[in-house]
Amino acid sequence: MNIRVQTEVFDLGTEVEALRAGRLDVGAVASFVGYARDINDGSDVTAMTLEHYPGMTEKALVTLADEAAVRWSLIDVSIVHRVGRLLPGDPIVLVAVASRHRGDAFAACEYLMDALKTRAPFWKKEETPTGERWVDARESDAAAASRWEAKPQG
């Protein structure tokens, strides 16, 4: 398991290669990268700053990865989340899941993103032409996370 919070940029190809290196039983890697967009809720966004809760963040992400490993048959998981000031186009978060079969990798990767959005202590502040604003939690993220509560395994 590879869980990191960092200011530096990450590279998807490098992370996925590290995840599966030397594991010839890996048949599937599903991955996700979230990027800073130049528009949000109808306003231009010129930059954003990500704040987090050092200590709790890492614990929360490990908890999510453990939950995914209980729920699906996984070989390994990587989660990398950036903090600090980011510009539109910058990658923010990476989740990659290696498994034998693709169904497990896809489900666990989407689960981890949905859970991270509602349970990992990160906060975004956007810079717009009319000033700074804290991003509000989305109802759609809560709905996406709650899907997994009722869903049967797999």
Binding site: Y53, K117, A120, P121, W123, V135, A137
Partner: protein
């Protein structure tokens, strides 16, 4: 008991403080929130019942009925928006 209290994001900014040490003689998270609301102003406003915020005790999310212990780290913050 003595608590270490952390504030993040919008709450850190509105309260004008990121961390404080507080002597506390209540029992639960809900009691602590009452003490903080009693400061009035932005404290009463941001922590008003019905406002959306989260509380973590020793770095785990908790509900208001959870009891606090001496030297606990309590964090109060808005709903998370990472990813």
């Amino acid at each position: 008991m003595r608590l270490r209290i952390l504030y993040f994001a919008r709450m850190r900014e509105r309260f004008g403080v990121g961390e404080e040490s507080l002597a506390f003689d209540g029992a639960t998270v809900a009691d602590l929130l009452e003490v903080l609301r009693a400061r009035g102003g932005v404290w009463a406003e941001e922590l008003a019942p019905g406002r959306s915020f989260r509380v973590a005790l020793n770095q785990h999310l908790v509900t208001p009925d959870v009891p606090l212990t001496d030297a606990a780290e309590v964090a109060i913050f808005p709903p998370v928006t990472g990813g």
